[in-house]
């Protein structure tokens, strides 16, 4: 019983009357190709992708394929072809647009990897150079210390010698 009451309630709610004109408008507009929702989705996602510089630059072939499917779909729609056929090309256009988008991301990542490899090699070289410089400095310091020690020792020996001589 409950379930039969619910729709009545829903029909009586003011909300339905508020959106009814909108629904009617949507249905009436569906007749022209420019306003068919499914066609618009494919067209819109294509337009968005077409306006993205990276997609145009990195996935031109895939974008062209998406455009081809979109045109085919529009032609079919205009020649009043079977809805299934129109929807088919709308689907292909939408998927091809996504493929173009992912291809652009893929290419961008691949380019970053190739640039990054070069940079990493350079930084690794810098690290090795810094290591070499450090050990060189350490060796110099050790040599310096050894020299100083030798001088001190010589001086000490000289001191002892002088003391011995003066004692004699």
């Amino acid at each position: 019983m409950k379930s039969s009451i619910a729709p009545n309630k829903w029909l009586l709610s003011p909300a339905i009357y508020a959106i009814l004109p909108l629904l009617l408008l949507m249905i009436s507009c569906a007749g022209s190709p420019a306003n068919n929702p499914l066609l618009n989705d494919a067209r819109e996602s294509y337009e968005v992708a077409h306006n993205e510089e990276s997609i145009v630059r990195l996935a031109p072939v895939e974008l062209k394929e998406a455009e081809g499917a979109l045109e085919k779909r529009t032609t079919l729609w205009e020649s009043k072809a079977d809805k299934t056929e129109v929807d088919h090309f709308a689907y292909l256009a939408a998927q091809k647009t996504l493929i173009a988008r992912e291809t652009a991301l893929l290419k961008a990542a691949e380019q970053e990897i190739s640039r990054g490899e070069t940079e990493r090699q350079q930084v690794m070289l810098d690290v090795r150079r810094a290591d070499a410089k450090r050990s060189e400095q350490r060796a110099d310091r050790a040599l310096e210390e050894a020299k100083n020690e030798r001088i001190t020792a010589t001086e000490a020996r000289a001191g002892t010698e002088t003391a011995r001589l003066s004692a004699e």
Binding site: H88, L92, L106, E112, R120, V123
Partner: protein, 87 residues
């Protein structure tokens, strides 16, 4: 087969939804063939192919983006190491 190619590049991990869609379409294609609805089967086969193609490129893109991020991180660590050596 495109689905297998997608699987080979890691679509199961990186593009599971697209791969599943392709699998469903493939089954629908088989059903259409069985029902002798050949035109429908051809359409569905095209859907299967494009879904699998999307799964493949999405998986490759996700993997490359991951590799790029790892590389960025390794460069950052190396640069930090270099900073410390200069101090």
């Amino acid at each position: 087969m495109v689905i297998e190619q997608a699987e080979q590049v890691g679509a199961q991990e990186f593009a599971p939804l697209e791969l599943r869609d392709a699998g469903i379409k493939l089954q629908q294609t088989r059903d259409a063939v069985e029902d002798k609805e050949y035109e429908k089967a051809i359409r569905l086969l095209e859907h299967t192919r494009i879904d699998a193609e999307l799964a493949q490129v999405k998986a490759r893109s996700a993997k490359s983006q991951k590799a790029a991020a790892e590389l960025r991180e390794s460069i950052r660590i190396l640069k930090e190491e270099l900073e410390e050596k200069h101090i």
